[in-house]
């Protein structure tokens, strides 16, 4: 797997968010996006996820044989964790994750395992309304453990997490990288220390 972007440029509304942006992330590597609010970190992640069109530039996701992935194949190769928590007070924790398992096409039995992996096993039958901010964040991140996918796109994964949860996230990410995964994350803090960073400035 390899994610390559060449001279990417993005236009949101009538504003150029960034231009001439290059990135190249190979298997087992992580890229952490830094930059002030409004510098286009989320926009870039959404572009990488295939949710937004580019104004110009070339973006490719290559499989292990160097062939570019497209369409549904590409969608299936990536996990996207948005910065919002997709949690509804009307749904229990387990129900929420079951719904996401169905979206990903992951087997239902993975749900409880994923809950355990993120320390949410005891909360499975709780309503989404009762979760703390950190627990909500962990539930969103638990999607990652539902199904192995090569590319993880994480938008502000650290927000609201306490120290043990951060350690857990770090361990899970390290393991993912160890098996040849790719991570692109946007963060205001140091994340996955030692990995490459990309700084997005305003209007850059």
């Amino acid at each position: 797997m390899r994610l390559i972007g060449e001279s990417l440029a993005s236009l949101r509304g009538e504003r150029v968010v960034f231009r001439n942006l290059n990135l190249d992330v190979a298997a087992g590597q992580a890229l952490v996006l830094h930059g002030p609010n409004g510098s286009g970190k989320t926009t870039l992640l959404r572009i990488l996820a295939g949710l937004l069109a580019l104004m110009s530039g070339k973006l490719r996701l290559l499989d292990d044989h160097g062939n570019p992935l497209a369409g549904e194949q590409r969608d299936r190769a990536l996990h996207f964790i948005t910065h919002q928590d997709m949690i509804r007070p009307q749904l229990r924790v387990r129900e929420t994750l079951r719904f996401h398992a169905a979206l990903l096409g992951a087997p239902v039995r993975e749900v409880d395992r994923a809950l355990e992996a993120w320390g949410l096993g005891a909360l499975a039958d709780l309503s989404g309304a009762l979760l703390s901010a950190g627990q909500r964040r962990r539930l969103s991140l638990a999607r990652l453990s539902l199904q192995p996918r090569n590319v993880w796109l994480l938008d502000e994964p650290l927000v609201a997490l306490d120290a043990p949860s951060r350690q857990n996230l770090n361990d899970i990410c390290a393991k993912h990288l160890g098996t040849g995964g790719i991570i692109v994350a946007a963060s205001h803090e140091t994340f996955l220390a030692g990995s490459r960073t990309l700084y997005l400035g305003t209007g850059a």
Partner: protein, 240 residues
Amino acid sequence: MLAYANPQRFLRLARTLTPWTLGAGVLLAAVGVFLGLFVAPPDYQQGEAARIIYVHVPAAWMALFVYVCMAISSAVAFIWKHPLADVAAKASAPIGCVFTALALVTGMLWGQPMWGAWWVWDARLTSVLILFFLYLGYIVLWGAIEEPTRAARAARILALVGVVNVPIIHFSVEWWSTLHQGATVFRTDGPSMSTSMLIPLLTMALAYNVLYAAFLLIRMRTEISERRLRTIRLGLEAVS
């Protein structure tokens, strides 16, 4: 921006066309009003009051015509992503809305001497009224979405959904009207109309069309200038 290369040419063309269309429209309208008020014979049933049809009927035609134009522009914008088409659709809406309002008001003014009531639930008048609300909805949607590109996209779809529904609405209202033995005040069309009445009617219709073109050009020019201004402002913001 690349997309504005073409509007550049449009602007030049529009600048030369605007005074001509505006002049021709005003002239034609003056001739039409003169013919309608002084030359055409009074209706033998409805008397002098029937002269309002020369304002009313073409306005009602325009109400529908402009909506269809708007939908066609939206379809063009939808399929070919042409930026001018969105501008044309957006610029058409208030003009069509004014024609619709004109048809409604003249219809009400006509209803008073004919029926002794300011409003009768005539099928066509009712259709025009609902069309008026469709225009309002379209204009509201443009206003409600702050980001112009998003607003354009949403408006396209609304215009297309609207135009699919217009015949259904029209049919349902006609059907409803016959069911309730509704008034048919405005049965003025058809080949039975005398030439002396048809000529002022068609003159007015032509005048409205030319005026529509003139106002469309003016509004499109304004819209394009506003967009440019916005782009320049945003550019300045990014630099500072």
